[in-house]
Subunit: 312 residues, 2 copies
């Protein structure tokens, strides 16, 4: 059993987190949050989305956010782009990485993007080469690989086929999503093994695991056991699950960063600074965030004496 020596955390809080929060933050607050996250030592941060403002009003000002961010060596910002207009906005804002997105189930892809899977692939076959021609790093999200809220089980061979096509048109990295957090480690192991056998290198795969059912870290472990080294996380677990009000959503950055630090796996992240960023995210979102490690860290800072007798 060999775990990787180092792991990259791809921070999605400012995008995937905020787009699922009810709070709408001013540009200033988003910039503060992203700067706090970049101060933690994270090397990749998704800062927003260039989708139509009426689709996700929370992220309508991503251009302004991007323009106000300080560049840092070793840190790459990214944003979602649904189309050529979005790509042009991203480039104009100074971003050097963009992400396209689609699903591995027809029903989710239709609801989420108003396209069939074939239409999404055709659509990307114009955008992705245009992004590559400008020297951008292109990530592709492939959602619902572990299960679809509309279709239920999804055949991972279909997800692999789509991934092979996304790679062929130039996507540098595919982020495989357990969008509704229904995955288990055995399933994760089977999916990752299928992708590796299908010619997708581990270095091209990121896992985007939701913690709806508490299994995200166990799924990360299964992924790491097969050589995966990039995982998407959200500060404080910000974002919730759009399909189950009140339930947890994205895997919390602190949960994975803390587990990896304990295992001696390098992430470059300073946990204390990450807790401070988590506290800021909690203040900005106006609610208690679901991340376990963050709550433990915040709880320990508050007065309170442990019960003394007969615990196990």
């Amino acid at each position: 059993m060999a775990y990787p020596a180092s792991v990259t955390l791809y921070e999605v809080g400012p995008r995937d987190g905020l787009q699922n929060e009810t709070a709408r933050l001013p540009v200033e607050a988003k910039v503060r949050l992203i700067q706090a996250l970049s101060a933690c030592g994270l090397s990749r941060i998704e800062i927003g989305s260039f989708v139509r403002p009426d689709w996700i009003p929370q992220l309508a000002d991503t251009d302004q956010v991007a323009q106000r961010l300080q560049k840092r060596a070793g840190l790459r910002y990214s944003a979602l782009v649904p189309n050529r207009t979005g790509l042009d906005r991203a480039v104009a804002s100074g971003l050097r990485e963009v992400a396209v997105f689609m699903s591995s189930s027809e029903a989710h892809n239709q609801k989420n993007t108003n396209k069939s899977i074939a239409e999404s692939l055709e659509h990307f076959s114009a955008i992705v080469p245009a992004a590559k021609a400008q020297g951008l790093f292109v990530r592709a999200y492939l959602s619902t690989v572990w299960g679809c809220p509309y279709e239920g089980e999804v055949d991972p061979r279909r997800a692999l086929e789509i991934t092979q096509k996304l790679r062929a048109i130039g996507c540098d990295e595919i982020s495989l999503g357990d969008t509704i957090g229904v995955g288990n480690p055995l399933q994760t192991r089977r999916i990752v093994a299928l992708f590796l056998e299908g010619g997708i290198e581990a270095s091209r795969i990121a896992l985007h695991l939701h913690d709806t059912n508490g299994t995200a870290l166990a799924n990360c472990l299964a992924g790491m056991e097969l050589g995966i080294t990039t995982f998407d996380t959200s500060v404080g677990g910000m974002g919730g699950c759009p399909y189950a009000p009140g339930a947890a959503g994205n895997l919390a950055t602190e949960d994975l960063a803390s587990m990896l630090e304990g295992m001696g796996i390098e992430t470059g992240v300073d946990l204390e600074k990450l807790f401070a960023a988590g506290e800021l995210a909690e203040d900005l979102s106006g609610r208690k965030l679901p991340g376990r490690r963050l709550q433990a860290a915040l709880g320990r800072r508050k007065p309170g004496e442990a019960r003394k007798a007969a615990s196990t």
Copy 2:
């Protein structure tokens, strides 16, 4: 990589959960909760504690609770016994399994039991044979194996030595505790491997993993990979962490039962009935319980439309 075909969930909610809740329940409510849990198909339930009532007033009426429980084939109730008086009360209440408890760090053992480790072992060397002579199954809790809130790191070789002594005096099963939830899967792997090399069979080991930092399921996975098949869990994650107010405590029964069902590992547990028991536990404790899977299940039952556009 072989996972076990079946796993036993040892339910600690009515004891470890309730003793950490502020709510004090009448006997009737405890009996209702235990009956709801036994209806789920759980085969082992810890119903309370025969410690001095002034230590843990929440569990002062364990005798009455035990006497009111219906016997079921394939279901064994247990309770904590700190001494001979507790053992006698447990037997008089009709229990056929008891649990003694101590820690693998001196400071925690002293604070939790008012004894040194040597004194605890000597103390048990009278109680355990007395329990065995009456045909009882004897579990021993060994706390703080992954770390101590007072001493920090704990040498697992010390925990192994204590375990070997506990086995020698007749304890049937040792429940190794990550009492403060600081463990990670690599550490779990090393601890379990050390115990197996030290002559403790996997079937004699249970893991009692707290979810303070969200790592409990990942630690279970690491344990299962080495053949461990008994895990302690608490309905809804009831219990909290006594060392970090507001943080999660015990691993939630639904979280592990659900993950195992997804992996095709038999537990005998009916998830829907378990969610109903979790909802009851939430009503009785008067707070939102931290279990992820339970919250997802309860959230899905409430009205609420998923956001439609551009999610990953």
